[in-house]
Symmetry: C2
Subunit: 441 residues, 2 copies
């Protein structure tokens, strides 16, 4: 048999093998890794190298894209995702009721997110009366109330101030198993998709408060948006002075309309609802305003029948995003990965269990690990095909460790819709590889 | 005069003042900062606080957006920039000739970029034969040539490997004053817009080379794309093993088609042309391939008439992005800011001159400062309205300092189109506030 004939039969064999395996198939006993081997060097003798090379190229083929012109790009363009990525988008969850067009939300597909940056088109959003399309030239922002001199700013004026750019997570206080009594959320987008992370650019609120001159008796600020709901929140001046920002850009470009264009408040580490979008004013006063979103909403039922107000820090939390509910995994090497974050500092460590919480192993944290920012953790695991339950738990730089759902039940009353839930999220992997939400089970 | 009458006349006065100032006007002698003061407390006596507050609210007005429903968002959506941001887009520069649809490029509007992350829709791109729209399920990637076992990967297989996410800049070797003999570029998008920065996610090339088994005699890899031009480059195996990545995502989501979807090579710190997009194979060999882009293009003319090959590291460089060519500034506080980066390490410092290079002052570097990544620098400057020339120069962690254009002329031959130009970019601010490119003067 000549070399060329040998090669032809080997190419046929390799094609057959590729076909029979399918794109995700994998024999974990044979090899730890996943490349489709085309090595039959032993059979080829002296001509091995050239033959193997020809073999690889033949198996690779010449795809149509290498034989024709590509699509010309228009000379001026804003780039969009590939048409093959249409499934990666924000979604409204289907587990809530009383939905109406003008008060709605959409959740980030964190199971598809790579790295720590949420692209601007996928940052989650919550609106209480639709999304206004504000002309930045018409927009005004005021600081008034208990100040020595009230100030009104145009966007152009604001953007001339020294700004900072900071990587921070943003999380809705309703994120994470939002329906405790009858949990039905299947995917991590539904359970934890009210979570995003970006590099936010803006002017420190402290700069402008100092210019306005805060009166001694002032202790709270009222931040109000210019949307149809005039959504407002009371913010302690201490926090406004510490690290609050008047944000106009995320991930390098001006905010998207649904994320507050042209100006929003950003309160690092606190529940998203307080980072008022379409910000028109901060009024200083000497007590909180007790607005709807700090009395009827965004409060925590306690075991004694009372409701806790102003619990605004998002405590340490983590979730495995892959594998997660709705995915299917194959036996062999599985890269377990997810996010950890804390409104009170940096992530110090993340533990991962693959036996339902009996034992835990420390995961790798990916740099950079930044204060009040998503941190990605990873752990490579060789799955033998038996049913398992996986979960993660985060510890932050204050020493606080993420609790189990049962831990939370000891100190909080459980009603249908609960805010500030940072419980451990377990996922079950069945013998057929299907991943499901254990709590929603 | 009653309080209400006083208030009315003050509101009228403040309106008049706001009108006469316009949105960017500012009197630098009166105050360093820019908020429109509405403080007339002295005239108000005891009722001052309430009156001032009413005044501020009146001047602020109630915009239409607070009086009507916003736009409902569709339940499933990919967010897009505001309609008021249409001017922020990639652009082809107009200073080159011999342009045709299938070989083209578009440049990042870095004068509009905030922070260090370039949003995916604005990452610069260069294509040699149009943009292919590749179905990731059909795509194959091979490692072959001087290896023990050639390997072919599907995208699903590749994406099961342990990946890393890294913030790196990407720069075309032609970036920065690309026409030396008759420079005509007016804006920083035209002079330096072949520059972007993202968090790139992918599998280290070393992982797969180790699996394939690199033969001892192999020293170079041939990386080839599956676009119509079959664009290819030779890469030393040393660099492939050190930090090269097989990248499939940028800033959290899969690559845009024009940036290499679904797979590209990423060679940190080196000229963008070598980070082959739409990557279909890496073939290992024992010498470089001397392809078109490393002989006829992407080489440097030297004073002795020869051309330097394989000068692939992008040396330390910086540019002021604001104020920059085409902008207009007003007297008073000016936030001078820009980017610094180096293919050889971290940025150690950036100096800024406001007197055409006679004296330099160290700028603030904004965290995080990351190896082979854009670093943003800032300097607050009080401009008195006289004509000045501003510029920046970067020093990296190797101690190398960015040269002037004259420095470069001493060691390189100057032809019309020159690669690897990292000269200092000066901008002139005229007495009328207009900013222009001194070199293009």
């Amino acid at each position: 048999m000549k070399i060329t004939e040998k090669m032809k039969s080997l190419v046929d064999a390799s094609r057959k093998e590729l076909q029979s395996r399918g794109s995700m198939s994998h024999d974990p006993k044979r090899r730890a890794l996943l490349g489709q081997s085309l090595a039959y060097a032993g059979a080829l003798g002296a001509g091995g190298l050239a033959a193997k090379d020809a073999l690889a190229q033949e198996a690779l083929g010449v795809p149509p894209s290498a034989k024709e012109h590509g699509r010309p790009l228009p000379p001026e363009e804003y780039g969009l995702p590939s048409k093959f990525e249409k499934h990666v988008k924000r979604r409204r969850t289907d587990v809530f009721v009383n939905r109406q067009n003008f008060s709605d939300w959409s959740m980030t597909p964190i199971q598809h997110q790579h790295g720590i940056v949420t692209p601007n088109g996928l940052i989650f959003e919550r609106h209480h009366n639709g999304v206004p399309d504000i002309d930045p030239e018409q927009h005004r922002f005021a600081i008034h109330g208990m100040v020595r001199q009230p100030l009104v700013f145009t966007m152009s004026d604001l953007m001339r101030y020294p700004a900072v750019s900071k990587f921070y997570f943003m999380e809705c206080s309703g994120n994470g198993l939002t329906d405790w009594l009858t949990p039905r959320s299947k995917t991590v987008q539904q359970t934890h998709g009210l979570l995003s992370c970006a590099q936010w650019t803006g002017v420190p609120v402290s700069t402008l408060l100092e210019e306005a001159g805060v009166l001694k008796e002032a202790t709270w600020g009222l931040a109000e948006g210019t949307d149809g709901s005039s959504h407002g929140r009371s913010v302690p001046i201490k926090k406004l002075m510490e690290d609050a920002l008047l944000v106009y850009a995320s991930n390098g470009e001006m905010l998207r309309p649904e994320n507050g264009y042209p100006l929003r408040l950003f309160i690092p580490g606190w529940e998203g609802n307080i980072s008022i979008k379409w910000l028109r004013r901060i009024k200083l006063g000497d007590k909180p305003w007790h607005l709807r979103s700090e009395t009827a909403r965004y409060t925590d039922p306690m075991p004694n029948g009372k409701w806790r107000q102003f619990s605004m820090e998002m405590e340490a939390k983590s979730v495995i995003t892959s594998p997660s509910g709705g995915m299917t995994v194959k036996p062999g090497m599985v890269e377990i990965q997810g996010f950890a974050w804390s409104g009170n500092g940096k992530i110090r460590s993340v533990d991962v269990t693959v036996d339902g919480g009996r034992t835990w192993r420390e995961a790798r944290l990916e740099e950079p690990v930044i204060d009040k920012c998503l941190t990605r953790f990873r752990m490579t695991y060789k799955w033998d095909g038996g049913p398992i339950v996986i979960a993660s738990r985060a510890t932050d730089s204050t020493g606080y460790t993420q609790p189990t759902v049962d831990d939370i039940k000891k100190v909080r009353a459980i009603t249908g819709f609960v805010q500030h839930h940072n419980g451990i999220q377990p996922w079950a992997i069945a013998a057929n590889g299907e991943v499901s939400n254990v709590i929603a089970g």
